[in-house]
């Protein structure tokens, strides 16, 4: 079976662990327990009729990506950059962050994810996304599970042929 390392990153409190838990265990909690260090989990998904094992690294959020230990990113095939749709500070560094990450993993797949969509109306979300300097790939809610499967399908379908 093909295995790939994928890392969830972004600022703190944006919902990385929640996405991780929703994706792996289909569960959500309102409690905020900040992640310390790294947690690794695995889920096998079906992509293009093939099995893909995703080793998902959930790391402690940092306001700026260059604060994350570089070794966490090494060997990763995919990066999911999560920001909080309701907190502008979580995407104010997005351009620098993404450029930095692409520099670290030139061959990696990078996806930008706006999370907590359940807290905003459709119009509000559109406005937030339109004002950003980069294209947002997927809008998710770790709470309702909206688009979470889809996010991993999107990244999985690019990773499987890498």
């Amino acid at each position: 079976m093909i295995s790939k390392k994928v890392i969830l990153t972004g600022s703190f409190g944006v919902g990385k662990t929640s996405l991780f838990n929703q994706f792996v265990y289909s569960r959500f909690s309102d409690k905020y327990l900040t992640t310390i260090g790294v947690k690794v989990n695995k889920k096998v998904i079906k992509v293009k009729d093939r099995d893909l094992s995703i080793l998902l690294w959930d790391i402690a959020g940092e306001v700026s990506q260059d604060k994350v230990p570089v070794s966490y990113f090494l060997g990763a095939s995919g990066i999911i950059y999560v920001f909080d749709l309701t907190r502008p500070t979580t995407h104010k560094n997005i351009a620098e962050d993404i450029e930095y990450l692409k520099g670290l993993l030139p061959d990696g797949v990078v996806k930008i994810v706006g999370n907590k969509s359940d807290l905003l109306g459709k119009d509000q979300i559109e406005k937030v996304v339109a004002d950003m300097p980069l294209h947002c790939d997927v809008i998710t809610s770790a709470k309702t599970g909206d688009n979470v499967e889809e996010l991993f399908q999107v990244i999985g379908s690019e990773l499987i042929d890498l």
Binding site: K4, K5, V38, V40, P69, G75
Partner: protein, 276 residues
């Protein structure tokens, strides 16, 4: 007008007088300078060796001559800003102490290993009797016996991604991909957290929990992790390390990184052959 300076009438004499007035002083000065220079040259011939001797002497006897002053200066500095000096000295001290303790421990271990070897070999029968006479329980001696050691699992793990390239387990109870990922994450976390001068470039080599130990042997593209239970002496640790290195040399070094990454079954089989 008597007594008055007679100004010579002809031009040549006049010029000569002006020349004399203008140049006599200078000539004299020049001469003096030349003299001094010559003398200096001569002097330095004499003085330089003496000076060099003196400098050498000061160099060699610095602490005798200036020791007091330096001590006083250090005392003063220490009193003024103890942190600064401590900051300079403590890593050095720490390293020295660590080295010393590690060395002492190594000696102690080797001693114990040696004693056990003697006590358990046929020539060591006398030793065993002695031990009993002196009240050392044989269980103490047998404590670090080899039998208790069990290799539970072995993994060959890709260095940064943590993807498992081959594994062997006696009871297959845990998801090996999770182990590979978590071990790699822990390694990365620890190695990143310790970035002071001493820790830089060091790699995690062992994790211990209860009776379990995970030994890690690091290679360039991957690392081998062995999960063991039992009492493990430094000699065993050493043997194991040798074994991991020779396994890597024999079975893995001939494969390209790509081959290593795609020959899971073959590597797993070899691990079983080699370590069980």
């Amino acid at each position: 007008m008597n007594g008055q300076h007679q100004i010579p009438q002809d031009e040549d004499t006049q010029l000569q007088v002006i020349k004399n007035i203008l140049l006599t002083g200078t000539n004299k000065d020049l001469g003096e300078i030349k003299d001094i220079l010559a003398k200096k040259d001569q002097l330095s011939h004499h003085i330089d060796p003496v000076l060099e001797d003196k400098i050498l002497y000061i160099k060699e006897n610095f602490d005798k001559i200036f020791g007091n002053e330096v001590d006083m200066l250090v005392d003063k500095r220490l009193a003024e800003s103890p942190e600064q000096l401590l900051a300079i000295i403590s890593p050095m001290l720490g390293r020295l102490i660590k080295k010393y303790i590690a060395h002492q421990f190594q000696m102690l271990r080797e001693n114990i290993d040696q004693n056990i070897k003697q006590a358990t070999s046929s020539q060591g029968v006398m030793g065993r009797i002695k031990a009993q006479l002196f009240g050392i329980k044989s269980s103490d001696i047998i404590l670090s016996n080899v039998d208790a050691i069990v290799i539970k699992e072995i993994y060959v793990i890709k260095r940064h991604s943590g993807l498992v390239m081959g594994s062997y387990s006696i009871d297959n109870t845990i998801d090996r991909d999770m182990i590979g990922g978590m071990l790699t994450a822990i390694k990365a976390f620890v190695e990143d957290a310790i970035t002071d001068e001493e820790g830089k470039g060091e790699e995690l080599e062992m994790i211990q929990y209860g009776n379990y130990k995970i030994f890690i042997q690091n290679f360039y593209n991957y690392y081998i992790a062995v999960v063991m239970s039992g009492t493990i002496s430094s000699a065993h640790r050493n043997d194991l390390s040798d074994k991991m290195i020779s396994f890597a040399e024999r079975e893995l070094s001939t494969l390209s990184p790509k081959e290593i990454a795609t020959n899971d079954d073959m590597i797993s089989h070899k691990l079983k052959e080699y370590f069980s």
